[in-house]
Amino acid sequence: MELEEMQTVWSKLSDQLETQKKLTNKMIIMMTKEKYRSKINKIAIPEILGTVICYGTIVLILANFSRLDNWYNMLSGLISMTILLILPVLSLRSIHRMKRIDIAKNSYQQTLLSYTRAKKRFKTVAKWGYYLSFVLMFAILPVSAKVLNNKDLIADSKSVWPFVVAIPLAIVFVIFFAKWVMRSYNSSINAAENLIKEISEVDE
């Protein structure tokens, strides 16, 4: 379909819509009220809840840090706390960047550029978030065993067999999981990158 043909169709659509006006004052006023809005801007709520849980866990580990009485438990504790500290900050910061775009003042190009950059950052953080949470899953195991049950997961094990089975299984899981994360996120990150390039090219 040529552009001119598209314009003809569009103009017919515009004429049709002009004769079908349905908005009432009441509807418009209702839509301007906060409680009727979509929850798009409340996107940070799960992230905020997550942050509270993460920081609560840090406090719990810190309060019981003296119970982590050997190097591997201490190292696991430190790794867990670092991840629990960093992840929420990165996630909330990337959401904040998306939310602070001034759509009333910015032009379409500026908005698109800022938003695509922020979205790319958000997806990258989300991707690394998955990898780090996997590390966290392992790191927190000995810590929680010690903190919650006062049990040393490694020293108190009577047999090596659970490790011999669990470690290869975990490696296989990590490989599949990493592949899935890459597939899910890389295409949208690349698409965002291409769009940024294209918008910036127009800028030059």
Binding site: Y36, R37, K39, Y108
Partner: protein, 161 residues
Amino acid sequence: MQKESEFTQIVKEHEGVIYKITSIYTDTHEDKKDLYQEIVYQLWKAYDSYRGEAKISTWMYRVALNTAITRFKKEKKRGIQIPMDSLVKRKTEPYDEVFEERLQVVYSHIKRLNELEKGLMLLLLEGKKYEEIALITGLSLTNVGTRISRIKQKLKTQIIK
């Protein structure tokens, strides 16, 4: 009260524009309703900052398009929705099959463009002059021209495909 009645008047006058933007930037009926409400809300929020430097329609296109592209689709749950099915549904009676089919072709062509081109295409179809397109998009006049000829080229390729 004065502000409210001015605002409702403006939105009513541009109802069709909001409908068309929601049709281009969403794929489902629910998303369409969601975006419709969000656009009206953002227009209301931005209305105080409108100083009359640009035409009201220019300002409106800018805010509505910016809302459409910054809409983050992660959240599945929705807010309380106003019964507005009729707003996002166009009456198609008497049914013109040829027109409806052609309209779907137009939508599908637009949806295959990237976000920047999508906005440009919409403004072009709306019959906006390059100067106004430049004002809304923030692109230079030359860039608008270059970009639009690329879109035309892209459309031709889509037709061949």
